[in-house]
C-alpha cells in the first residue's frame, strides 16, 4: 500500500535527498508533500491526508519540536507517525522527542537506515 509522505525541512536540497533516499529504500511512495517549516506543514496537514511525516528540528518560523507538539494536540492528526531526521546529538533532546511519540534518525543516513526506521514506525502505528 502506498504511503502519503510529508517531508519538513528548511533545506530544499535536504528534502530532495530524503525523498530520493526513501525511493532507494523501496518505500512505496504515494503523494509526497514538502514543507519548509512547521507552519507550512500544519497548513498542508489541514488539507491533505498524510501517513507519515519526516521532520527536521532546526527550522525558522516553527521548529520541528513545536510542530510535533501541535500535531499531538490536534485530535484529527494526533496519531500521525513522525520520524525526526536531524543532526541533533543531545541525548536530552532526543529523549524529549521520543516522549512526544517521535522516532529519530540521525543525519547522515543511508537508504537502509531510513527504510528500517520507516518500517518500524509503520508497524508500531498499526498495532
Amino acid at each position: 500500500m502506498s504511503l502519503n509522505i510529508m517531508v519538513v525541512d528548511d533545506s530544499a536540497v535536504m528534502r530532495s535527498m530524503i525523498l530520493r533516499t526513501l525511493e532507494m529504500s523501496d518505500v512505496d511512495l504515494g503523494q509526497v508533500y514538502q514543507a519548509a517549516n512547521g507552519q507550512e506543514a500544519l497548513e498542508l496537514l489541514a488539507d491533505n491526508w498524510v501517513d507519515l511525516a519526516l521532520v527536521d528540528i532546526n527550522m525558522p518560523v516553527m521548529n520541528g519540536e513545536e510542530l510535533i507538539e501541535q500535531i499531538r494536540s490536534r485530535p484529527e492528526i494526533a496519531d500521525l507517525p513522525v520520524i525526526v531526521v536531524s543532526t541533533e546529538g543531545s541525548q536530552t533532546r532526543i529523549e524529549r522527542l521520543h516522549a512526544k511519540g517521535a522516532e529519530f534518525i540521525h543525519k547522515p543516513f543511508t537508504p537502509e537506515m531510513i527504510g528500517e526506521i520507516v518500517q518500524k514506525v509503520l508497524e508500531a502505528s498499526h498495532e
Binding site: A12, V13, M14, S86, E88, G89, Q91, T92
Partner: protein, 154 residues
C-alpha cells in the same frame, strides 16, 4: 589545538560527505593540505550551549555545484541558491556530529543557520581548537572548530 578535535572534525566530515554528498576520502586527513585555486567558498555555523563557538567549512567553488547535484540527485548543476543550501546543510551535519564530543553528550546546544561567503568568516573573540583538511575525490575540504576564548577547552 587538540588532535582529538582534529580527528572528530575529520571523521564527521568524511561521514557526511560520503553518505550525503557521495564524495569519498582519497587519503588521510592532513591539516597542511590546502584547497587548489583561489576561488574558495566558506561556510560557518555558530553554536551555543555549555560551550559556544562555530564550525567553518571551506571548499573550492568548483566542488560546490558537484556537491549540490549529488545531494539533490540532479544531473545538472543546481542554481546557486541550492549550491549554498547544500554547503550549509553539509556543514550543519558536520557540526551536529562534532558537538556531542565537545563535552557531555547529554548537553543541549542551539545551532544557528549556516551562512556562506567568499571571505573568511570573522571569529573575533574565539580561538581555534581543531582544524583539518580532508582530501576527497572531488577536491580538498578544510574544516575548523572555534570556541569562545574563555571556554575551557583546547
Amino acid at each position: 589545538m587538540s588532535e582529538t578535535y582534529n580527528d572528530q572534525l575529520a571523521t564527521a566530515a568524511a561521514e557526511a560527505f560520503s553518505m550525503l554528498g557521495f564524495m569519498f576520502p582519497m587519503g588521510e586527513p592532513d591539516a597542511t593540505l590546502k584547497i587548489d585555486g583561489a576561488d574558495v567558498v566558506s561556510a560557518t555555523v555558530a553554536f551555543a550551549g555549555p560551550i559556544s563557538g562555530a564550525v567553518d567549512l571551506r571548499v573550492s567553488a568548483e566542488l560546490l555545484p558537484m556537491l549540490a547535484a549529488n545531494m539533490s540527485g540532479s544531473d545538472e548543476p543546481p542554481p546557486e541558491d541550492q549550491q549554498t543550501d547544500a554547503l550549509g546543510e553539509m556543514l550543519n551535519v558536520i557540526c551536529g556530529n562534532v558537538l556531542p564530543m565537545l563535552d557531555d553528550p547529554a548537553s543541549v546546544y542551539d545551532v544557528g543557520a549556516p551562512t556562506c561567503c567568499k571571505d573568511a568568516p570573522d571569529h573575533a573573540g574565539q580561538k581555534v581548537v581543531g582544524a583539518t583538511s580532508l582530501p576527497l575525490d572531488a577536491g580538498v575540504v578544510e574544516l575548523a572548530l572555534f570556541v569562545n576564548e574563555a571556554a575551557d577547552v583546547g
